[in-house]
Every structure is written in C-alpha cells, then in structure tokens.
Amino acid sequence: MSDEQEVKRERKIMTPEEREAKIKAAAEARAAREAAKAQAGDAEASTEDAAAEGTAAEAKPERKILTDEEKEAKVKAAAEARAARAKAKEEAEAAAAEAAPKEPSYNQPRLDRAIEILKTKVAVDAVEESYINENNSHLPTLTIKGEHWYTCAELLKHDEAFQCDYLRNVSGADHETHMEVVYHMVSISTQHEYCIHVKTDREQPSVASVTPIWQTANWNEREIYDLLGIAFPGHPDLRRIMMSDDWVGHPLRKDYVPLDSEV
C-alpha cells in the first residue's frame, strides 16, 4: 500500500533540505562557470563582442580569419573554461552528495525479495545483476541469465509474489559488446512493475521466446528478430515482420551498412 502511495507522489521530488543543498551547489557551479567565461571572454575581447556564449562560440569560428596567436589564445581559453566548468560540476555533485546521503529506494525491498525468490526457485546464479532505475519511477531492474530466462519468465507470470500478467513492451538493443532484450512487465492486480534484461552474445544471439507465456511477445520478438537478428527459439512463427523476406542484414545493428548510400 505504501508503495503505491509513493508511486503516486512520483512528481514531487525533493525534501526541502535536499533542494536547498542543490540550489547552493548550483549557485556555486554558476559562479565558477561565470568566472571561466569571463576569462575566456578576456582572451577574445579584442575581436568579439562576446554577445553570446555557447551557440555563437561554436558557430563563430567561420566568421573571421584568426591569426595564429589569436587562435591559440582562444583554444586555450576554451580549454580553461571547459576545465573550470567540469570542476564546478564535480564540486556541485560532490556537494549534493555530501548534503544528502543517498537513501535506498522505496522499491529496494521489492527488488531484494524478487532476487531472493528467483534465486531460491530457479537457480542461485539466475540473476546476474540488479539495480533500481530511479529516474524511471524507481523501476526494479534485473538482469537474468539467458539459460534461466524461460523458467524465470514463467515464475514472473504465475508466482504469487509477482503476478506479472501484462507484458508491456519488449525491446532489443545492440550494445556492441553484447545484445540485449529488455522486457517491461506489470501486474494488473498489484501494479508492481519489473524490468528484465536478458543478455546474449553478439555472434549467435539467441534468447528463449516467451511467446508461450505472454502472447504480446509474439510480434515484438519477430520485430526484434527482424531488426536486430536475435533468434528466439520456441517462437511459433519467427519470420521477418517489417522488412521484406529477402532482406539481407538486420538494420538496427550498429554494424549494419545500408545498401543505399542515400539513406
């Protein structure tokens, strides 16, 4: 119950102390940035009215021909500014961290329990890693080993503790080192959400199909197969869905080379 309330208050974010700390940190950062800017401005004061920072600075080099010294000075100034900015940012972050030691998320117990259940009921090494995705409404996110995925999926749907009967979304991603299939599921009755990652290697990507468990996965898996080339053993009808059947390659892979150079 308390979980749900907290979910609803998602929009409201910080406690007053936190906010104060943040504002202070931001102010400091701003001051530091200003100083850096002023320095940079000095360096090029002779040539520019320094009307606009940012945009203009990036775009302006084309506008005039600089002498070598000027150029050098400018580069140096820019570098300094960047350094100052980075430092300010670091400081701000440090200040924020100091002011408010990070509290564990309200979904942490749920995540722990989920890991516990999966470990006892499936396998000790079923869960590779886990974390709470705080930006995403504190979504419990688990990475599950490929070989245990199907049993875990069954458990996620049918187990009393999960009851995730509604599979929201299946997406695939090519992380260049490995491939990944991401499942977002929710339980209609308890409104508990989970995000499951399943990693697979890039050479022979394959993840057990969950179409027998959730029908939703059917076309989504076909789409992932089509666009990323991940095979789903156990899928009833694994064909291309978006591209034509004779298409070569899987467009969403990072190493895909488009046939038509125009595109």
Partner: protein
C-alpha cells in the same frame, strides 16, 4: 462430385478499409474466414534507426509521423521520457498546454475513428460529420502551432508556442459545441438498429485474453479491465482532474464503440476542468540545457494515447543522440489479436473487427 475449395484472398495492401497500406491474407471458405495472416511493413520508415543519428529535438517531428492521427500524444511520450531521464521540472503553464492539446487530440482522434468506422460499416455521412467537428480542433492546433497534422509542438522542457490570444476561449467554446454534436451523433448512429446488430457480439474476447495479448486502451477496457494509464500511473497533470474510465463487459465491438464514445465525453470533461484551472501566466519553457544530453541509463515512459499505451524506451549513453530508441506502439500490439479474432468470421466482420481495433498503419509499421 461436389468439391469445395478454399479461396486465398489478399485484403490489401490497397483496400478501402485497411486504413492505409496494410495487408491481411485470408483463407476463405465461402465467405467464412479459415485463417488470417496480417502482413505489414509497407509503411516501415525505420524511425528507430533514423533516431539513432538525430538529436532529441530532431526526433520530435519524426514522432508526428508515427501515429499521424494523434501526433500530440506521440510528441509527448518522447519529451516525457527525456524529461524523466533528465529529471527536469516543467513549468505549470506548459504542462497545462500539453494536457489541453493532448485531450483535444484524443477527441480529434476518436472522431476520425468514429467517422472511418462508420464508413467501413457502410454509412457515409457520419464520416463527414466527424470531419466537420475535427476540423475545428485542427484549426485550433493550426492556430497554436502552425500545422494541421504534424504539429512538432512539444519540446523537452516545455512547449514551443504559448497559446495565442483568445485561443483558450475558443477551446472553451468548443466544449459545449462538441457536447451538442455528440447528441447528434448518437441520434444518427448509436441507436441505428442496423448498426447495432452489426457490432453486437462481434469480435468478442475475454479479459484474460486481452491481458495476455497485451492489449491496451479501449481494446482492453472493453473486457472490463480497469486500466487507464492516466488513472493508474498519472503523468502530466491528470491526477488533478476528475474523470471516469468507461468500462465494458462483453469485450465485443459494441463495447469498444460505446467506450470510445464515452471517452470522448470524458475528454471534454477533462478539458473543461483544465480550461478552468489554466494559469493566467507563466513560463512555457523550463530551464533546459542548450544541448539535451540525458545521463547514461535507460528509461521506459508510457502514456495513454487514444489507441492505448504508447511507450518510449530510450537507452542513452550520455550523448545528444539516443543510443537506442524504441516505441511501444499501441496499434502494433493491439493488432496481434486480429488473427485470433478473425477465425470463423465472415468477410464483412473482418472489416468490422479491424475497424474496431482502431489501428493507424503509420504506427503499426513505425
């Protein structure tokens, strides 16, 4: 010897009732469908691939073209995901404007659905009646952001344009007008016996099936599952307004029809309240860094579009471009149930059911 043969019929890709380039290969025995296989991809533009090379502002116009009947909600789901990722605060006035345009969009989208559904069923006039009233909304949008269909209105952190003078009043006037027109619609169609016999008991499924297939929107609620993201996981300002979520009981085309008609009314109700609470002044753009670079990580944001749950899954590596962007398109997911529904139905019901699922092919193929 009398021998019967199955007839293989391609419905589409160019067919008046597939609402775009969408194909269903049906095996017919007489007029009864034995097997149906949807074939899609004719409108696949690779939005997700294109997005990997564009920065977030540039992707917004592309989202307009996914579900071109309700571009505002698509705009919103993308900016909402990015905002959530960057933990941005959005000025209240901007959020109100977004909510108003989204609800207007829902009305417009349902009107298109209503008109085209009746066109599928064979009545021509409702289509033109619906477009007359949708035109008013389109004109409102045109006045607000300068486009009639592909608005490109929302930005990460706010909206592009503030409401022009008198715009809010025009929306206010529109609400009672639309209510009156709804009565006219009901007189013209909702009581028509031919229409009712055609949709009653057609394309029925139960709640369990609907959840299993991941249906959303009116397609899920027609089975009685109370699931509306505006209520269950309030985003934007929906928790501030009173509105009901209409539910069905039988899960047939009849329920879907009346749920959508009721949703229209509820949208008007939300609009009414939103107009009343609309802040007199304020910023329409929050404090946003010049280049939008969400922190490394991933996010799945979802909202209730007129067709159901539209979601946006972003993997960011801290760059200005998304590393991977995937849209959960409600039309695509909802359509999965079609082959199951069509078995044993006649050709005529194919059109009724397909229309009742309410797809937009631009979104199916993305």
């Amino acid at each position: 010897m009398i021998r019967t043969e199955e007839l293989l019929l391609n419905v589409g890709p160019q067919h008046p009732s597939t609402h775009g380039v969408f194909r269903i290969v049906v095996k017919l025995d007489g007029e009864v469908i034995k097997e149906a296989t949807p074939v899609m991809g004719y409108l696949h533009r690779g939005t997700e691939k294109l997005a990997e090379n564009l920065n977030y502002t540039q992707i917004i116009p592309y989202t307009d073209r996914m579900d071109y009947v309700s571009a505002m909600t698509n705009n919103y789901v993308l900016v909402h995901a990015v905002e959530k990722m960057m933990q941005l605060e959005i000025p209240e006035r901007a959020e109100f404007l977004r909510l108003i345009v989204m609800e207007l969009q829902r009305v417009a989208s349902h009107l298109v659905w209503w008109g085209t559904y009746l066109l599928d069923i064979g009545a021509m006039s409702p289509f033109l009646y619906a477009f007359r009233d949708r035109e008013i909304i389109i004109d409102l949008f045109n006045e607000l952001c300068g486009a009639r269909l592909t608005y490109n209105y929302m930005r990460v952190g706010g909206v592009k344009w503030d409401a022009p003078e008198g715009w809010i009043d025009k929306v206010r006037e529109f609400i009672p007008y639309m209510r009156k027109k709804m009565e006219e619609y009901d007189r013209l169609v909702s009581g028509n016996e031919i229409f009712l016999t055609r949709i009653k008991g057609v394309g029925t499924y139960d709640a369990q099936t609907a959840i299993d297939f991941g249906l959303s929107g009116a397609n899920l609620r027609c089975t009685g599952v109370n699931w509306d993201i505006r209520k269950n996981e309030p985003y934007s300002l929906y928790d501030r307004f009173e509105f009901d979520v209409p539910l069905g009981t039988n899960g047939d085309c009849y329920d879907r029809y009346f749920i959508r008609m009721e949703e229209l009314r509820q949208s008007l109700r939300i609009l009414e309240q939103a107009i009343e609470q609309f802040p007199k002044d304020g910023e329409i753009m929050g404090k946003v860094p010049r280049v939008i670079r969400p922190p490394a990580g991933e996010i799945y944001a979802r909202i209730e579009s007129p067709r159901g749950e539209i979601g946006c899954y972003i993997v960011s590596k801290g760059k200005a471009e998304p590393y991977r962007l995937k849209f959960r398109r409600p039309s695509f997911v909802n359509l999965q149930i079609l082959p199951k529904l069509l078995v044993g139905e006649t050709m005529t019901n194919l059109i009724t059911i397909l229309g009742g699922v309410d797809i937009v092919v631009g979104e199916v193929d993305c």
